[in-house]
């Protein structure tokens, strides 16, 4: 295994484009090292991104959104007041990943690119309308987060391409987001269902919404029907019931010892209702 430490994304893309064998990028390494040690993935070239300038920074963009570096670990998201105030749902998704030790290393970008349908930070990013900036041998492009994973473990990135930043839109007024997951214990487990809701209010009425589900389909998915079920409502009981119904209907989960199809489908509806209510409370100024 060759270990590379490029200092620009262009060089990283070049290295990846020229590599003949198996290539992996190294951010926090919490997936890469586990897979390496298990003998599952033995890269010929490992491209460490942490020597590239700016990768550990969270910066405000000109339009009032956020640019999150690809090596920013979970612990740094939670410590960033401005980001927590704007996108608490995105931050809480990442903070659910692993233990204190894992938080010291694991990144949003790695969680996304590992391509797990149960990745805890991804539904929050999708609900937020986040996108990724991709650098490749031919230049840069952006892609909505929901279009990055294409199947378990596979992304839409082409050979030589890598993510150079995660971009969050400006939050704007009267808006809030939330992520909830179900696991059989309180810590250190893989989501059986995850649900994220981001919405904006005018008074008590929802004017914009995005809903994303995790662990109930081959990839994290955006569920536009769920958003439609609550836009124009005040999230009263009938609206919440309709939301739960469409969220459940969007599920095509696996059946395993951690959760049956029936269980995952029902819980997706329940969590989505709860996440919507938390997002609403946050939109109204609740900081919890």
């Amino acid at each position: 295994m060759r270990y590379h430490t490029p200092t620009t994304f262009e060089d990283a893309a070049q290295l990846a484009a020229q590599a003949k064998g198996l290539t992996r990028f190294l951010a926090g390494g919490t997936d890469v090292l586990v897979q390496l040690r298990a003998g599952m993935v033995q890269p010929d070239d490992l491209i460490d991104l942490k020597k590239i300038a700016g990768v550990s920074e969270i910066t405000r963009t000109d339009d009032g959104g956020w640019r999150i570096g690809v090596a920013v670990p979970g612990i740094a998201l939670g410590a960033h007041e401005g980001l927590c105030a704007d996108w608490p749902g995105v931050v809480e998704g990442m903070e659910l990943v692993g233990s204190t030790q894992i938080q010291g290393r694991a990144t949003l970008t790695g969680n996304l690119c590992n391509g797990s349908p149960a990745a805890d930070s991804v539904p929050g990013l999708v609900a937020a309308g986040a996108s990724v900036e991709i650098t490749g041998p031919g230049g840069t492009r952006t892609l909505p987060v929901e279009d990055v994973p294409v199947s378990p473990g596979k992304t839409a990135l082409k050979a030589g391409e890598l993510i150079s930043a995660i971009l969050l839109p400006p939050r704007g007024e009267n808006a809030g987001d939330a992520y909830l997951r179900f696991i059989p214990r309180t810590e250190m487990d893989i989501a059986v269902v995850g649900s994220a809701v981001s919405l904006r209010l005018d008074g008590d009425t929802v004017t914009e919404a995005r809903v994303a589900l995790g662990a109930v389909a081959p990839t994290v998915k955006l569920v536009p029907e769920a958003a439609d079920a609550i836009i124009g409502t005040t999230l009263d009981e009938p609206a919440l019931e309709a939301l739960a119904k469409v969220a459940s209907a969007a599920c095509s989960p696996i059946d395993d010892k951690r959760g049956t199809v029936a269980f995952r489908t029902e819980v997706a509806g329940v969590l989505t209702k709860r996440a919507a209510l938390i997002a609403k409370a946050r939109a109204k100024g609740d900081t919890a």
Binding site: L26, R37, S99, T100, Q101, E187, M188
Partner: protein, 160 residues
């Protein structure tokens, strides 16, 4: 397989070693530097027995490559006592019998020390969440939590 020359600071001492890029920081600490206090319980980030700090951040050294430590500061369990003088956490672990086989203990002490530096006055719940990534097969955790709470109280009095 070409080896990489790594220079790093471990518990304040500059050390150099040659690492195969696939070797973890835990392997390098144990096999190249001879610091065997950090343990490998799982090698997959689940048990915390390998906990160290890297530039002040608590990490699992089994999930960091040795080559990634180049130019960084590593603190391990071996740097915790001041010569023969045990750190209050170490003393409290003995007083409360917060260990049996002791395999998890170095990792838990390193993690608990970082907790008390971050939050000198944690609630029991905060201690339990902070240490959720440190598994112990022997003690049932209760004595560990009590020892950490007691050490925190002692450290706060000293600081006051």
């Amino acid at each position: 397989m070409s080896k990489v020359h790594v220079t790093t600071s471990v518990n304040g001492d500059e050390v150099e070693f040659l690492a195969d890029p696939r070797e973890t920081l835990l392997d390098c600490l144990r096999d190249h530097i001879g610091l065997t206090g950090s343990k490998e319980g799982c090698g997959t980030g689940d048990c915390g027995a390998c906990s160290v700090t890297l530039d002040g951040t608590l990490v699992c050294s089994c999930l960091v490559l040795g080559v990634e430590a180049d130019g960084k500061r590593v603190e391990t369990i071996e740097g915790m006592a001041d010569g023969a003088e045990l750190h209050p956490l170490q003393r409290k672990f003995i007083e409360h019998a917060a260990l049996q086989c002791g395999f998890c203990t170095p990792g838990i002490l390193v993690a608990a020390k970082k907790l008390l530096e971050t939050n000198p006055n944690p609630t029991e719940e905060e201690v339990r969440y902070w240490l959720a990534g440190n598994l112990c097969r022997c003690t049932g955790y209760d004595k560990i939590i009590r020892a950490v709470m007691d050490a925190a109280a002692e450290l706060r009095q000293e600081a006051a």
